[in-house]
């Protein structure tokens, strides 16, 4: 039986009176790439932030490799995280930022350096190593966050829209790395709006709408589950999230202008 990497149970997160995540439960096993899908404002990023310990839930439990996220240091040591908005320490250079994260993760100098050479070469980041992050393009900032997330070879990768801003080459490399990570025995949870990527990459997907899990399974399982959604994951997604109704009329109205 595959080891459970993540267990999310009855998660509730609210901002004031607004409930962003409402009684959400799902599991992710080792060797799995779990795609978290949902329209804008559905609660994906909030869920992932709770998963990595950035936000505290109002209720519910998150367990990462049998360690509750409340046991912060132990749980976070196993996670590599790429946030949706890449807000790092802008005045640091990538080198300084990676040294900082490597220090906090207590990485051995040799291990850190052998990893960073490979990763920075793969993502073509070397030439920006001594440039303040503030001066980097969005894509290069994203690469810094990705390298920082992969530097300590985490068991669980939590990636929030990781492909945004990446060039085709880096995007391809990251996708390959995600697949390799899962094959090697790790687990990946990532959110994306690109349905084609989710369809190709994910072992399973969970669809969130208005903070609730409205569909979960492999693409084939969802296809069977959702009547009339014969085609792509995009069709399934639009049906499940009830966004399809009236869409054609809206497009027509826009085209008539």
């Amino acid at each position: 039986m595959q080891e459970l990497a993540v267990r999310v149970d009855g998660l509730v997160v609210s901002y004031g009176n607004f409930v962003a995540v409402d009684n959400l439960s799902f599991n992710v096993k080792n060797n799995e790439i779990y795609g978290l899908l949902g329209p804008n404002g559905a609660g994906k990023t909030t869920t992932l932030k709770v998963l990595v310990g950035v936000l505290e839930p109002r209720a519910g439990q998150v367990v990462v490799y049998d360690t509750p996220i409340s046991n912060e240091v132990a749980a976070k040591s196993q996670i590599g995280y790429v946030p949706e908005e890449v807000v790092l320490f802008d005045s640091l250079t990538p080198r300084e930022f990676l040294e900082f994260t490597a220090s906090l993760r207590r990485l051995d100098t040799n291990v850190a350096n052998s990893r960073v050479v490979k990763l920075s070469t793969a993502f073509d980041l070397t030439k920006y190593f001594d440039t303040p992050i503030a001066a980097l393009s969005m894509g290069n900032k994203q690469k810094v966050a990705i390298v920082a997330a992969l530097l300590h070879e985490p068991r669980l990768l939590v990636l929030d829209e990781p492909l945004i801003g990446l060039d085709a080459r880096s995007s391809k490399i990251l996708k390959e790395l995600i697949v390799f990570h899962a094959k090697k025995g790790g687990a990946v949870i990532f959110s994306t709006h690109i349905m084609e990527v989710a369809e190709k990459l994910c072992t399973r997907v969970g669809i969130i709408n208005k903070g609730k899990l409205v569909g979960e399974g492999t693409v084939d399982e969802l296809r069977k589950l959702v009547k009339g959604a014969e085609g792509s994951l995009e069709d399934i997604f639009l049906k499940v999230t009830e966004q399809e109704a009236g869409m054609q009329e809206l497009i027509k109205a826009l085209e008539e202008e």
């Binding site: 976070k76 320490f89 005045s91 900082f100 906090l104 207590r106 051995d108 100098t109 190593f129 001594d130």
Partner: protein, 544 residues
């Protein structure tokens, strides 16, 4: 596009500039996701911040202007001096003060303005490059409007009130305009210099970090200038009068120096009989020269604004990267190294590391009147302690810059608390060393400073740990962007108060003991300091 329309757009843009100046420089671009009301409150606070800064500068300019020309002041300060020299001194000091006030007030917002982010958001709009430049220039005007107008009104009014002539009053308007243009030029120039050398500077070597700290001194120039002019206006004027009396013939050299040239010129127009013809001619010629220089500076400022409007003015040199070598340390030193790197590129943080330099300057000026003793020692230590204790919460606020990322890292509260405490202690130790150097320089007995200064380390550590524990708990629980401490001034003050109380306990105990049993002062001081240190160490140790 009509001027009114551009003016209206510049209002929105200047709000954004003031917002960025606080939340980009101090807090990063991440804002807490706590609903729109929280963000709206932060935007409002940023706007209030700018308005408060403008109003305070205006009040300072008005008050300073009228105080400089008070007749009673003239009677006491210039008892043995002619009315003409009083005008020279007052006008010159006021012109210098306005220049520094403007730079002091505007440097932070100007840095945000020259960073060209504003042009990026304006360029996609249906505005021509010229209109974008005009909007940015109007932004600059909006940032400084009240103080500039105040300067233009106060000088001629105050001058006329002390019996100046109409022609002199008119020239005083030109003089203050020249001073204001110099102020704006210095502000934009320093902001450009700062941004290209410091904020945009990379490099990995320790030398680079050190030079960035040195360049950071630029940020302190207007602060020093303003402090100096406000506190030592009397000294400046007395020195000026002494200089003029001592070197009567050398006076002609002074009349070519700004702002004295205008001082002499205006004084001459007030009906001065004291100055000789060459001095008058020189002052007129040099004043005209400064007017031309101001016109040139004005063009430079408008051109710079235009360049910002046409897509950025700053090119930062990049060094070729030789390797990707990382040198990980322990988490504690990893945090300290990160904080130092950030502080070397951010004035609001670096200024705290430069506090010892500021304290040296202030102590060096004031120390001549000190007499060694317990009260003076504890008094000086109290001052240094209070300044040092601003450091821990401000250093902690660095974590708020990237809180949405930092909190995903395996970071223990106590590691963070210890790292910032060590930084605070480091600054304190430098301040104490500076104090000792000054005491040595003025040949004072520094035994008390050494003994109490060293023992006070425990007290500083305890107070820092308390402040940081409160903040760390808040940070972990609420996850608010601590960089926004300026938007939550109440939080900042509420954290300082317990720190001051803890640091104050050994001092108060020592004072009380001095009144009851003088020979027990040291024992009481050290017992109180060590006791609170032990308690705080235990509390911090228990933070996971």
């Amino acid at each position: 596009m009509k001027f009114r329309e551009l003016w209206r757009i510049s209002s929105t843009v200047s709000k954004e500039v003031s917002f960025q100046s606080i939340f980009s420089t101090r807090a990063g671009s991440s804002l807490p996701r706590r609903g729109s009301t929280d963000v709206q409150r932060l935007v409002k606070n940023a706007t209030y911040n700018v308005w408060i800064s403008k109003i305070l500068t205006t009040i300072f300019i008005c008050a300073f202007g009228f105080v400089m020309f008070l007749p009673e002041r003239g009677q006491t300060l210039y008892a043995n001096t002619s009315h003409e020299f009083m005008i020279v001194a007052s006008v010159s000091t006021f012109l210098a003060a306005v220049l520094f006030f403007i730079v002091f007030m505007g440097l932070q917002v100007a840095t945000s303005l020259v960073s060209s982010k504003i042009a990026d958001s304006l360029s996609p709009l249906p505005l021509s490059k010229k209109e974008v430049s005009n909007v940015i220039f109007l932004c600059l005007v909006r940032i400084f409007d009240l103080p500039l107008v105040a300067g233009l009104v106060v000088l001629p009014t105050a001058y006329l009130l002390v019996g100046g002539s109409i022609v002199g009053g008119s020239i005083s308007v030109i003089a203050i305009a020249v001073s204001e243009i110099f102020g704006l030029t210095l502000t934009i120039g320093l902001a450009k210099f700062f941004y290209s050398r410091v904020a945009g500077g990379g490099g990995r070597s320790k030398w680079k970090t050190l030079t960035r700290f040195l360049f950071m001194l630029v940020w302190m120039v207007p602060a020093f200038g303003t402090y100096f002019v406000i506190n030592f206006a009397d000294v400046i004027i007395r020195s000026f009068l002494w200089f003029t009396q001592l070197f009567g013939s050398s006076l002609q050299l002074l009349v070519i120096v700004f702002p004295f040239s205008f001082g002499f010129f205006i004084s001459f127009l007030s009906g001065s009989q004291a100055a000789n013809i060459p001095s008058i001619v020189l002052s007129i010629i040099s004043s005209i020269g400064y007017v031309f220089l101001a016109v040139y500076c004005f063009r430079w400022v408008t051109n710079t604004m235009r360049k910002i409007g046409s897509g950025g003015i700053l090119k930062v040199d990049r060094e070729p990267v030789k390797d990707t070598l990382l040198r990980p340390r322990t988490p504690l030193f990893g945090i300290i190294r990160k904080d130092l790197a950030i502080a070397s590129r951010s004035p609001s943080y670096a200024i705290l590391f430069l506090l010892p330099a500021l304290q040296v300057a202030i102590l060096a000026i004031s120390f001549s009147s000190f007499k060694s003793g317990l009260f003076v020692t504890l008094g000086v230590l109290t001052g240094i302690t209070m300044t040092t204790l601003v450091l821990p919460p401000t250093m902690f606020s660095i974590e708020g810059l990237a809180s949405s990322y930092t909190r995903s890292l395996p970071l223990r509260k106590r590691t963070l608390i210890l790292a910032k405490t060590l930084l605070a202690l480091f600054i304190y130790i430098i301040s104490i060393i500076a104090l000792l150097v000054i005491a040595l320089f003025f040949k004072k007995d520094f035994t008390m400073e050494i003994v109490f200064g060293t023992l006070n380390l425990f007290s500083i550590a305890s107070a820092s740990m308390l402040e940081l524990t409160i903040l760390a708990r808040k940070f972990w629980k609420e996850g608010f962007a601590l960089g926004n401490l300026y938007a939550r001034l109440s939080t900042f003050i509420l954290i300082l108060v317990p720190g001051y109380i803890v640091a104050g306990i050994p001092m108060v105990a020592a004072f009380a003991t001095y009144l009851l049993a003088e020979n027990m002062v040291l024992q009481v001081f050290v017992t109180a300091a060590l006791a609170e240190f032990a308690v705080m160490s235990l509390i911090v140790y228990r933070q996971n």
